[in-house]
C-alpha cells in the first residue's frame, strides 16, 4: 500500500525535478515505440485493409493465423531477433544487437499482427458499405484499399493506439535484444523491471506512473487532433 503512495511521490519528484536520466530514458522509450508504431502501421494497415477487401482461398484461415500471432510471446520474439542479430547470426555483421534499432525491429514484429487484425475488423463494415459502389466503378484492388483507408481513417485510430500501447508497455523482447544497457538501450519498461529486481518498488512504480502519464499524453494529443476534424464526422 505504502509503496504505491511512495511510488506516486517518486513519480512526482522525478517529474518536477526534471531528472535528466528520466528524460533521456523517456525520450528513448517514445522514440523506439513511435518508430516501431510508424513502421508497423505502414505494413499492417494496408495489409489489414487488403484482407477485408480481397477474397481468396484460405483467407479466413490466414486471418485466424494473424489473430493467433497477436499472442506472440515477446520473450520469444526477443529471442529470435537476438539469434538473428547476434554476431554468430546471419545479420550479425550489421552489429545491430543491443541498439535501439534492434528494439524497434522486435517491437514491429510484436505489434504488426495486432494492428493488422484490428484494422481488418474495422474495415469489414466499411467494405460491406462500399462494396457494390467500388466494384461497380471497376476500381483496382489498390484503389479500393486506398479509398477504404482514407474514408475509414477514424476507425484506424484504435488500431494504431492499441499498437502503441502494446509497444510502449512491452518489456520482454526489448530486454533481450536491447540488453537494458544504461545510457544506450535502457527504456522506461526495462528500467522498471530493473528497479523491481532491485526491490526498489517505489522507484519502479514511480517510473511506471511516468510511463502511464506519457501514454495518456500521447492519447490526449491524438484525441485533440482527431477532434479538430470532428466536423467531418458522419
Amino acid at each position: 500500500m505504502f509503496d504505491i503512495v511512495e511510488g506516486l511521490r517518486a513519480a512526482f519528484w522525478l517529474v518536477v525535478t526534471g531528472d535528466s536520466d528520466l528524460i533521456a530514458i523517456s525520450l528513448r522509450s517514445l522514440q523506439v515505440s513511435l518508430s516501431a508504431l510508424v513502421i508497423a502501421c505502414c505494413m499492417a494497415i494496408p495489409f489489414g485493409t487488403f484482407l477485408a477487401v480481397y477474397r481468396f482461398r484460405h483467407r479466413r484461415l490466414l486471418i485466424a493465423f494473424i489473430n493467433a500471432l497477436m499472442g506472440l510471446p515477446p520473450v520469444v520474439v526477443g529471442l529470435i531477433v537476438y539469434i538473428l542479430l547476434s554476431r554468430s547470426g546471419p545479420f550479425g555483421v550489421l552489429g545491430l544487437l543491443f541498439t535501439p534499432t534492434a528494439m524497434i525491429i522486435a517491437q514491429v514484429i510484436i505489434i504488426t499482427p495486432l494492428i493488422a487484425s484490428i484494422t481488418h475488423q474495422a474495415m469489414r463494415e466499411l467494405w460491406a458499405e462500399y462494396h457494390d459502389l467500388l466494384i461497380s466503378l471497376n476500381t483496382s484492388k489498390w484503389q479500393r484499399v486506398k479509398t477504404l483507408m482514407w474514408d475509414g481513417r477514424r476507425n484506424l485510430l484504435t488500431a494504431a493506439l492499441a499498437g502503441f500501447g502494446r509497444a510502449i508497455g512491452e518489456v520482454g523482447a526489448i530486454m533481450i535484444v536491447g540488453g537494458n544497457i544504461d545510457n544506450a538501450t535502457r527504456v522506461l519498461t526495462t528500467a522498471i523491471a530493473l528497479e523491481t529486481g532491485k526491490g526498489d518498488f517505489a522507484l519502479a512504480l514511480g517510473l511506471g506512473f511516468v510511463l502511464i502519464g506519457i501514454a495518456v499524453l500521447v492519447n490526449l494529443a491524438i484525441h485533440w487532433i482527431s477532434r479538430t476534424e470532428r466536423g467531418r464526422r458522419w
Binding site: E129, S136, N138, Q143, W234
Partner: protein
Amino acid sequence: MVVEMFPLHLRDVSVRRHGKTILGPVTHQIGGSGLTVVMGPNGSGKTTLLRAIHGVERLSTGQINWAIPAAQARDLQAYVFQQPIMLRRSVADNLRYPLMLAKRPTGEIDDLVTQWLARIALSDAKSMQATRLSGGERQKLALARALISDPAVLFLDEPCANLDGRATKEIETLLTQTLDRGTRIMMATHDIGQARRLATDVLFMLGGVVHETGVAPDIFATPQTAALQAFLRGDIVE
C-alpha cells in the same frame, strides 16, 4: 462505341442464394440502343437482374457476354443503386471520385464537378458530408456521380423513388438527353407513368424470370400476359 458493346447475350443466367433461386434462369438478348424499363412487383428480381448484367452479382449458372471483352465492358458502365451509396466524403469529392479514378486532368475535373453540382441543385451543399444529404439529394448525387464520367451503358434502379415532382421531371429530361447522346440505359422503376414516358422497350419480371418483353408503347397498350395486364392495372399479380 456502343455498337461494339452490343448485342448483349444472357445465357440461362441464374442467381441462387441460400438455396433460394432469386433470379432466372434468364436467356435473353439485349439490343444496342434505347432505354429498357425493367418492371415487376417487389421482389421479382429487377435489382438482381440489373446487378447481374452489370457484374456486381455473382452468377450461379449461365453467362453474360458483351460483344467486347468483359474487362473493357466494365469500364464503360455506370450503375445507380436502389439505396444510393454515399462515400464518406464531401458532396464534391463524391462527384470527383470517378473522375479521379479515370485520372482526368484536375482542371477538367473541377469544371465538370461544379457544372454537375449546379445541375442537381447542390452547389451550396458541395462541401457538406454526402452522408448527411436528404433522401432525394442522395439520389440526385448518385445519379450525377454515375453520369459525370459519361458511360456507354447506364443502369438505374428506381432513380426517382425519393424525388419530388420537379426533380423527377428534370431527371427525365436529363435521361432523354443522355439517351440521344447514344447512351444505352436500363432502368428499373415502379412509376408506370414514368415507364410510359421514357421506355423504348419493356422487360417485365415476375418471380425471378423474364415474364414478358415488348416494345413501347405497344406493350402498355396491349400487354400479352394476364400478369402484366394485372400489374399495369395495379392489381394482384399471380
